[in-house]
């Protein structure tokens, strides 16, 4: 079973592109897509109306493909009360199964804490964008060390650090001791050895396959795992086994 832990509603919000995304995913035998929307314009600091509209795109996608798409709620924690209300709506009314945080503020900001507490209460994972960039981070962009700090503060939270932290050598080592953090393999970085390194440092149980489609193609992302020199059992855990276990948290 393949579960893609990191997919986005197509930028620009074109619904026909959603069909292309799902059709392509099915061609690669992907069983479920965990989708969040960053809105139509991918604004780094989205307004309340922008992130609520983004979540309604995901709701639409879930309605279109009810057994296929798992929704992740996207909010801007800087609008704390509205973000809490929207997260509640997404989980309780829209039946989404995760929280997505991007780059409006670093995940160590106290405004993030109530959302993490809610995620613990709802038993849903938090997918947190993280990257440490040699070219310079955005002001609100979490680095892997931030994710580790947050995870240690909330040991009951199930946190997925996106993109293995971007610079995966730093990312993987940064979260090594934060046992409630998993990493996803998504993104345009396809460097030889990255999967083997993550398995060696974290163990396959702490890695989930993600693509970041439609910014990437499923083929390159799935074959990162399939081509890695790790055991078949480890590949199976990464491609879907671990995420299946996480998504059953609510059941």
């Amino acid at each position: 079973m393949i579960i893609d832990a990191h997919v986005h509603f197509p930028p620009g919000g074109k619904y026909e592109n959603l069909d292309e995304l799902v059709e392509t995913a099915k061609r690669y035998n992907i069983s479920k897509l965990c989708i969040s929307s960053l809105g139509s314009s991918w604004n780094h600091n989205p307004s309340v109306s922008a992130f609520t509209a983004a979540n309604r795109q995901v709701k639409f996608a879930m309605d279109q493909y009810p057994d296929y798409i798992v929704g992740f709620a996207y909010v801007n924690p800087l609008f704390t009360q509205e973000a809490i209300k929207e997260f509640k709506t997404c989980i309780e009314d829209f039946h989404m199964l995760g929280l997505k945080l991007w780059v409006s503020c670093r995940c160590t900001e106290p405004v993030v804490y109530p959302l993490i507490e809610m995620a613990i209460e709802y038993e849903v994972p938090c997918l947190i964008h993280s990257w440490i960039k040699a070219t310079g981070n955005l002001p609100g962009e979490s680095i892997p060390q931030d994710v580790a700090e947050l995870a240690k503060k909330f040991p009951e939270a199930k946190i997925i650090m996106a993109h293995m932290g971007g610079d995966w050598e730093i990312g993987v080592k940064a979260v090594k001791d934060a046992k409630n953090v998993l990493v996803d393999t998504s993104g345009t970085i396809c460097e030889a050895g990255m999967i083997e390194y993550a398995v060696k440092i974290l163990g396959a149980e702490r890695i989930v396959y993600g693509s970041d489609a439609p910014g990437t193609d499923f083929s390159s992302q799935i074959w990162k795992i399939k081509a890695a020199e790790i055991s078949e059992e480890e590949k199976s855990l990464i491609l879907g086994g671990n995420m299946e276990k996480i998504l059953r948290m609510r059941v």
Binding site: E20, A134, T135, C190, E191, G215, S219, S220, A227
Partner: protein, 258 residues
């Protein structure tokens, strides 16, 4: 047949890599890649690329599946003489250049102009990787900006007899380059970076497959995911054959390889 037009052998100073010939040949066999056009990774960091090219030639003698591509810094003294040695005596079939790592731009001037002219006269194509590693992951001691698509377009326009193959380009950079495709018959793209959803299908639909090739960027990148982007795309078999081998056979004088 499958030809990988963008591989390296050698050491990368910032991370342990398996950039040896045995590993390359093993992975080629696993991926059913028949030929690899190989340049030296060390040459990116050497001031004098000649030593790296000689080392590479020695290594490549181990297998006829490995075809030499020399690395030249046009600004290094005696580089044109060494270029001709690489082509005529060492049997190398193309030139790879690294303007950002070697500290120059492709803006037209006498040095670049003469170098391109010599390559053109020798009917030797030039490979230009826009980057080697994602610039966001660069080591603090070596933060090297990528080559811009506009520099490539300008160089292709000014040197219309010279075949230029662009590697390691993101989808948006490829789109930018291919907007000029109709007017630039000498500019080619080798898919050797992670592309966006169904990008290869869209490219073939928009510009055809005559100007497209494939490369892995081994050993920096995994080879198989790069290859699967092409083999698993929904394009005609004829287009796949062109991208994976036929266009490379036309562009590179592989028969010259010693």
């Amino acid at each position: 047949m499958i030809i990988d037009v963008n591989t390296f052998l050698g050491e990368w100073p910032f991370r342990k890599l398996s950039g040896d010939a045995d590993t390359l040949l093993r992975i080629m066999a696993k991926c059913k890649v028949d030929l690899a056009l190989v340049s030296s990774l060390n040459a990116i960091f050497y001031k004098d690329c000649e030593e790296a090219n000689i080392w590479l030639k020695h290594i490549l003698q181990r297998s006829k599946s490995l075809i030499g591509i020399c690395t030249i810094n046009p600004y290094f003294p005696n580089s044109l003489e060494h270029l001709h040695e690489c082509i005529n005596e060492m049997g190398m079939v193309g030139v790879k250049i690294h303007p950002s790592y070697h500290g120059y731009s492709l803006e037209n001037n006498n040095v670049i102009g003469q170098f391109f002219e010599e390559c053109s006269k020798a009917k030797i194509p030039i490979i230009v990787p826009l980057r080697i590693q994602d610039e966001r992951s660069h080591h603090p001691a070596s933060r090297i900006p990528p080559i811009s698509a506009s520099q490539i377009i300008s160089a292709a326009r000014k040197n219309s007899d010279l075949k230029i193959i662009v590697c390691n380009a993101r989808s948006n950079e490829i789109s930018q380059i291919c907007m000029k495709n109709n007017e630039l018959n000498n500019l080619y793209i080798a898919f050797s970076w992670v592309q966006s959803l169904n990008f290869i299908e869209k490219m073939v639909k928009n510009i055809g497959s005559d100007k497209l090739l494939w490369g892995s960027n081994f050993p920096i990148n995994y080879m198989e995911p790069m290859l699967r982007q092409v083999t698993e795309s929904r394009i005609d078999d004829e287009d796949k054959e062109k991208i994976l081998a036929e266009n490379a056979k036309k562009i590179f004088p592989i028969e010259r390889s010693i």
